[in-house]
Symmetry: C2
Subunit: 349 residues, 2 copies
Amino acid sequence: MTILAYGTPAGDQPLDRMEITRREVGAHDVRIEIIYCGICHSDLHQARGEWAGTLYPCVPGHEIVGRVAEVGAHVTSHKVGDLVGVGCIVDSCQHCAECADGLENFCDGMVGTYNGPSADAPGHTLGGYSQSVVVHDRYVLKITHPEDQLAAVAPLLCAGITTYSPLRHWGAGPGKKVGVVGIGGLGHMGLKLAHAMGAHVVAFTTSESKREDALKLGADEVVVSRNADEMAAHAKSFDFILNTVAAPHDLDAFLALLKRDGTMTLVGAPATPHPSPNAFNLIMKRRAIAGSMIGGIPETQEMLDFCAQHGITSDIEMIRPDEIEDAYARMLKGEVKYRFVMDIGQMAG
Amino acid sequence: MTILAYGTPAGDQPLDRMEITRREVGAHDVRIEIIYCGICHSDLHQARGEWAGTLYPCVPGHEIVGRVAEVGAHVTSHKVGDLVGVGCIVDSCQHCAECADGLENFCDGMVGTYNGPSADAPGHTLGGYSQSVVVHDRYVLKITHPEDQLAAVAPLLCAGITTYSPLRHWGAGPGKKVGVVGIGGLGHMGLKLAHAMGAHVVAFTTSESKREDALKLGADEVVVSRNADEMAAHAKSFDFILNTVAAPHDLDAFLALLKRDGTMTLVGAPATPHPSPNAFNLIMKRRAIAGSMIGGIPETQEMLDFCAQHGITSDIEMIRPDEIEDAYARMLKGEVKYRFVMDIGQMAG
């Protein structure tokens, strides 16, 4: 079927309305009428061709929420009318150790919601800046939040799980001191989630102006990371630091704040490398620098249920599809608190 | 008491014989007549002033084995005549969380066997290139190896524990694939220990000439790390990689060999930073780069007992004290298989 989408034919062209097709619903497929789609920084990187390998036409969007419109003959987990979500993953090999462990995000055959290999036209996946999507039921998540929160749920599908997964994996919870570096789309979710998990949460920001916001979002303390005295007061005290900043920056300043056996986990990848961290900072306290990438499907469902239970959504600003280029420009300037969400209902214009 | 030692009055002076004093034996002290002392690369760095803060005169040596000659009134764990060892640690605060956990190596008040703060003359600790040493009994290890292996036990006190501790901490054992990068003083111990722990062990070397040696030391496979095809054959397959190479090198080449959730641990600190690792290599498989530094006292005893039980010692070449400068020169050229040990009995000349 032919639907409307917002995408671009080339990296140097603005996003605009276009027609795309979606496959017929197969036995294991779910067709979702998309209601809202969150706007992730990755969308911009991919659309602009800033990462190697963008396939055009490119339709970004992997923070999808909507309503089930049709299900295949073998689908039992979802039914027409259900509120559902789709995140960054729409397929994987389904037989490797990672898939068996519910960590489809680490499957070598993981297919991204956009720019992934696909038998469907045009030969690669097209994302959620579109009126509908057809997805294998394994990768469709149930949404149990109240329906009036649906737009603010959308960013949980990427920003939420990308922060929830490492917080859980590295044991954020009562009795743990957890840092969240950067208060943007990812970081603001990290603060809410770490707080709800019961950790003592410290927000790190370069911007004094975000201090009040960070406290409202769930931080117990806020440190302006450019203030050496404020930083020094937290030396060797953190169990875990979630670093959401993709821009190259001094990792050593944060490594020094970890206690023995502490880990700092990066969820943003810089376009050019961070300054090389000092091996002594790792060796002296058996610290680690790790990375984490989104999360598996079962954990994404767990995250959505956790958020529904704790009343957690993203702080969002709604945009019309035809405002996407302005939104990208503002995102680059950090002028969003804290996630844009596209109102797909206005796509027909 | 006054004894003979080998040390240097300044970073630009060769090591030579000198007289030093040792304190009287206190209630908790053990006086050890040193029989052998291993030669660690750290000794050279410290003696030459290549690390900030060398205190002179400098007497290196922290791979000490010998016989108990005198014990204080409150010492019950050691008795005159026992074969004992002293490693890198001769004191710590004894009341912090690290000390309580038997991880004195991570205590902020840890006192190194040389160049550490001390009330004894000359105001800092003097190491094992000397005829005797007086040490608090907490930091004295029991040696249960046969006495004729004593010289080859000495390097276990630093090279042994520095590799044993991370191998244990990151779970080297049956069913695990473990890499050891670099086949020198540390790496050759890493191969022996990982093999004895039951892991599948892969040695990485830049030198084709070390292939046979690595197999004899315990490697199941050897990879010449300059051979891209050999490296690629091991992609995403390691649970743990112990990296003993202190020279700056490409960490990404090894990170790419870790499976999901794998860790590479650095035990050598380069004088100038490694090229900055690619964050994508961490993020894509939730990998980690960590560090580890020697080990705690209980774990050092555990390591010595494990080695005695498995018949593990270091491969050594014995030198006279007056050969130390030649030994340093050869160490810098990598011409030692795999550890020099100083015969302290020849110090009187």
